[in-house]
Each structure stands twice: as C-alpha cells, then as structure tokens.
Amino acid sequence: MTLLHFELLGAALFCLGLYGALARRSAVLVLMSIELMLNGVNVLLVAFAAYGVRDNATGLVIAIFVITIAAAEVALAMAIVLRLFRSRGSVNVDEIDALRG
C-alpha cells in the first residue's frame, strides 16, 4: 500500500463527484456529488500528510478546515433548496435559471 493507491482513490472519488455534479438534475443530488468531491480531496490531503509529502500536520489541519466549510456549505445550500422548493415547487437545476426570487 503506497501513496499511489490513495492518490488514485481520491482522484476517482473526485471525478465521480464531478460527473454527478454535471449530470444530475436535482439540486440535492448535485450537492451530494459536491460532498463526494470534497471527500476525494480530503482523502488526498490526509494521504499526503500521512506519507510525509509535506510537513506532517499541514494536510490534517487543512482537511479539518475542509470538513468545517463543507458543514457550513451544506446548511446554507439546504436552506436555499428549501426556499427554492417553496417558491418554485421544484428543485430541478434545469428549471432554475433566474436570479430573481
């Protein structure tokens, strides 16, 4: 088990998330795909930290920040999705093309 294993896994998670974010229609599913991408990045950060590519703790600290920002992002995005559903009756990202409430 070398660094390459974790690198390929993180890249695969990121790219699966990218596919989901581009191909899915529901705003909630797009959000879940973005979570997948963030997790792929986190796997890479922690792997680089564990294998000592950079100073050990840096990758871990940045991964903690990524988890924090992801939590904030999910709360805010879900509030927007709820509001959108109430005013439009749909969370299909194809139909939501106006910034006006």
Binding site: L9, L18, V28, M32, V46, A50, L60, A72
Partner: protein
C-alpha cells in the same frame, strides 16, 4: 492485511459513490452517500488520522447526511421522485473520465518518488498544538464562517417571508 483492508474499503467507497451518482431514487442516493462517507472514515483510520476519522463519522455521516435527508423529505410531494440523468450525461462522463485520466497519469508519473510504505501519524496533542498556534487565525475565521453560514441558513429557510409563493 492493511492492503486487503484498503481494497475492501475501496470497493465499498467507490461502489457507494457510483450509487450516489447513478441511482434514480433520491433517498437511496443519500443512503449510498452514507456508505461512501463511512468508507472515507475507514481510509482516514488506515492513514492513522484517527481524529479525522472520528470527525468524519460525527460531522459527515451524522450531521450532513441527516440534513440532506431532511431536505429530501421536505422537498418532495407524495411519492419519492425518480430523477433521470441530464440528457447531456455522456459529455459529463467524458469530462470527468478525462480529468481522472490526467490526474492518474500525473500521479503514476510521480509514483517512483514515493514508493516507501511508511505512514506516520500525528498525535492528537501535536495536532491540537499546531491547530491553535500556527493555524489559530484561520481557525477563528472558520468558526466565524460557520456561525455566519448557520445564521444565514436560518434566515433563508425561515417560513413566512413576504416573497413567498
């Protein structure tokens, strides 16, 4: 042993991720996301990042998936919606596969420099010291961001706004 654990976890994680991006039932997609996030926590444990494994289980598998499930249940009418793929999904698949190919090529080209299987761990004490000394200002800013985002979420989601309907 660790390699076997890696492959089992990789199977679970990537299987769950494929489920998230392909399955048509939204509730099932959220449950697949739970599987994937659990698998990632397993990878953190394999990489000796036990604090992150814990945080992953608590924050992602706990809080984030629950929030997503709540949002799913509040934004559907009656039946569980089945969402089709966008009609341009082959383009999305090509773009993401192309990106994966580029990243994999870069990682494989660089692999010779990092052959050693020596994973080092950072003790919880050391991690805390680094977080509160060298990264103290970003840490405080992150907490502020979290606070502002949560207050914003409450304001946005609050019912009874004038522009309703």
């Amino acid at each position: 042993m660790a390699l076997a654990a890696f492959y089992v976890l990789a199977l679970v994680t990537l299987g769950g991720a494929i489920g998230v991006v392909t399955v048509r039932n939204i509730i099932h997609a959220a449950l697949f996301l739970l599987v994937t996030l659990g698998g990632v926590a397993g990878f953190f444990a394999l990489l000796y990042a036990e604090f992150l494994a814990l945080a992953q289980v608590l924050i992602y598998s706990g809080a984030v998936v629950i929030v997503i499930l709540f949002a799913l249940m509040l934004t559907r009418r009656g039946e569980v919606e089945l969402m089709d793929e966008h009609r341009r999904w082959p383009v999305a698949a090509a773009v993401s596969f192309g990106l994966f190919a580029v990243m994999a090529a870069a990682f494989i080209a660089d692999a010779a420099r990092y052959q050693a299987d020596v994973r080092s761990s950072v003790s919880l004490d050391a991690l805390g010291a680094v977080l509160f000394e060298r990264w103290a200002a970003p840490f405080e800013i992150a907490s502020l961001v979290l606070l502002v985002a949560l207050i914003g979420a409450i304001v946005i989601a609050r019912s009874g706004g004038r522009d309703e309907g």
